[in-house]
């Protein structure tokens, strides 16, 4: 075991993955609690895909993918928030924005594959590979994580109010629309970071899974955020360790993808949280 740990931490690719993965996991878990409470899973998922189009564009012009992810993600999030007020209209608007961005992304990825004659770049944008993350992104990821968490800290009280009791919040003059938009910015940062690390396709798992489980277990929103961040962090660490271990697994000793382990762990957490029959304290609060 200790030799496993030593070899795990001895590899620079793995240490970078652990460091960057931890920051991303904590941010996703904490922000995810509000995604679950505000029923914005579709937007949270769509942002990952929308950002990957930005990443492809950044790739094409030679910028670091992180900036493509974040800038296009924030713009896309605000567009989703701005289009459509009623729930159903918002659902369709999110769908159309996502569809268009996926189409543009397809075009950009196609141009990339034609140009480089290799699908490595696009496939890594779509599926993510934490072991190939550039260690130099650690600093920007740390700054963006800090920004997102600070924003959540600032918004915390009014956002809890506006989320659990939107009508009362509006009546009391809480700027609900502005809060929604600002939360979208924090959400976009969290999603795009993890899309960079875990892949656009799988960032949703880290956002929704631990948070959905935490909301069922915790007694308050703050507690849920801490629990979700911790769960998400443990998931990423365990996923990376398993993926590292899987290099000695059959077939072919090529290693199994990190994304696979992370997703399966997240799914297990979610199903486990559904097993218990404990009342949802937060949900009950919402009714009052």
């Amino acid at each position: 075991m200790s030799s496993f740990l030593a070899s795990l931490l001895g590899s620079p690719a793995v240490t970078a993955a652990l460091l960057i993965g931890s920051m991303v996991a904590v941010t996703s878990g904490a922000v995810g609690v509000f995604v679950v409470l505000r029923a914005q899973s579709f937007a949270g998922h769509a942002l990952g895909d929308i950002g990957s189009t930005g990443a492809a564009a950044a790739y094409l012009v030679g910028l670091a993918p992180l900036y493509g992810f974040i800038s296009v993600g924030v713009i896309g999030g605000l567009a989703i928030e701005g289009l459509g007020n009623r729930a159903r209209e918002r659902d369709i608007a999110t769908g159309i924005v996502l569809s268009l961005m996926l189409g543009v992304g397809a075009l950009l990825l196609y141009i990339l594959t034609q140009r480089s004659n290799a699908t490595g770049g696009p496939v890594s944008i779509l599926f993510g590979s934490i072991f190939t993350v550039d260690p130099r992104t650690a600093l920007p990821v740390a700054l963006f994580s800090l920004a997102a968490l600070l924003l959540m800290l600032l918004l915390y009280r009014p956002l809890v109010y506006a989320t659990l009791n939107p009508q009362a919040a509006q009546a009391r003059g809480v700027p609900v629309t502005l809060l929604g938009a600002l939360f979208m910015v924090a959400l976009a940062i969290a999603v795009e970071e993890s899309a960079l690390v875990a892949g656009a396709l799988l960032s949703t798992a880290l956002l929704i899974g631990p948070a959905a489980a935490a909301v069922r277990w915790a007694r308050s929103v703050g507690q849920a955020m801490v629990l979700a961040a911790a769960l998400s962090w443990l998931t990423v660490i365990a996923g990376i360790a398993l993926a590292y271990q899987s290099y000695v697994w059959p077939p072919g000793h090529r290693g199994w993808p990190v994304s696979f382990f992370i997703v399966m762990l997240v799914l297990a957490e979610y199903l486990l949280s559904r097993l218990g029959r404990r009342p949802r304290v937060i949900a009950r609060k919402e009714a009052t």
Binding site: V36, A39, Q40, S41, F42, G44, H45, A46, A87, R88, D91, I92, T94, G95, I96, L98, S99, L100, L102, G103, V104, G105, A106, L107, L109, Y110, T113, T119, P122, V123, L126, F127, G199, L201, L202, T204, A205, I208, G209, A212, P251, G252, R254, G255, W256, P257, S259, F260, I262, V263, M264, V266, L267, Y270, R274
Partner: protein
């Protein structure tokens, strides 16, 4: 005829693979628009996005196991639809959808990495490739079209009721849970037909775009379905011509053309609303 022919690139209608693409594409357009009508009515874009996407894992699995891709797509589409229906979903339907999608994609990533499949094949499944449609695919897609038409005809009334007024429908003996499941299976059917042609990422453009545009124009369910089918057919036909002419992925054109139709429909609805308020003022 000569003049007409020179308007289009040569081989657009005569190449065997293009003939397959025209037939399969048109069938897919009709199925997607039909199912899409209910997707828009129920506000279920996420499911329409997630099921084709999840079915991709089935295709990757089929490639790995050496089985039939279309069968893999169908199995995973149906399984993910049933998974979404089975998970509890009180407020946020999206939670169940997201988790089933993620589970499926996790498996897909595993299959891909174990199989080390030839990347362009995977790429074609993600983004669609009109060149790759065989005569056997065409027959299978036409079969799916028939099945979808039959299922929509049988389910039309209860599904419409449960979508528009779920509580009233439940009171009248249309069980909500069962209609949810049947609806998701219908989406799975449409996804299985659409993914080989348009790709796993953009099949949902065809399910959401035309029906969303039609919802702003049609004044009755029948009208909305007719407009959706028309818009969907036009979108696919335009996209086939553009894709053939440029060699770019057909999915891009489908997404772009359906988004343009959606924008036009919203503009139309806006103009009509302005005219009506003016008439009301005068």
């Amino acid at each position: 005829m000569q003049v007409f022919g020179s308007l289009f690139p040569t081989g657009l209608f005569t190449q065997p693979f293009m003939q397959n693409a025209w037939i399969a594409g048109s069938a897919v357009a009709v199925v997607s628009a039909l199912v899409g009508f209910f997707v828009v009515l129920r506000g279920a874009s996420f499911a329409a996005h997630a099921i084709p996407r999840a079915s991709f894992a089935g295709a990757a699995g089929a490639v790995l196991a050496g089985g039939d891709t279309l069968l893999g797509l169908a199995v995973f589409a149906a399984l993910s639809a049933l998974g979404m229906a089975a998970l509890p979903q009180r407020r946020d339907q999206g939670q169940a959808t997201a988790l089933v999608l993620m589970a499926s994609l996790g498996l897909g990533a595993l299959f891909l990495s174990l199989g080390q499949s030839y990347a362009p094949e995977v790429y074609a499944l993600l983004f669609g490739q009109i060149v790759g449609i065989s005569r056997a695919d065409v027959m299978a897609i036409l079969g799916l079209l028939l099945l979808a038409l039959l299922a929509s005809a049988l389910l039309y009334r209860p599904l419409l009721w449960s979508s528009v007024a779920p509580d009233v429908a439940a009171a009248k003996g249309v069980p909500r849970r069962r209609m949810d499941t049947l609806f998701l299976l219908l989406v799975a059917l449409a996804a299985t037909a659409a993914v080989p042609v348009v790709g796993a990422l953009l099949s949902f453009s065809l399910m959401v775009g035309p029906a969303a545009a039609a919802s702003y124009v049609g004044r009755s369910p029948g009208q909305a379905i007719a407009v959706a089918i028309l818009v969907s057919l036009l979108s696919v036909w335009f996209s086939l011509i553009f894709a053939y002419d440029t060699g770019l992925p057909v999915g891009f054109f489908v997404a772009a053309v359906t988004a343009v139709f959606y924008a036009l429909a919203r503009l139309w609805a806006w103009l009509v609303a302005i005219e009506e308020t003016q008439r009301g003022a005068a």
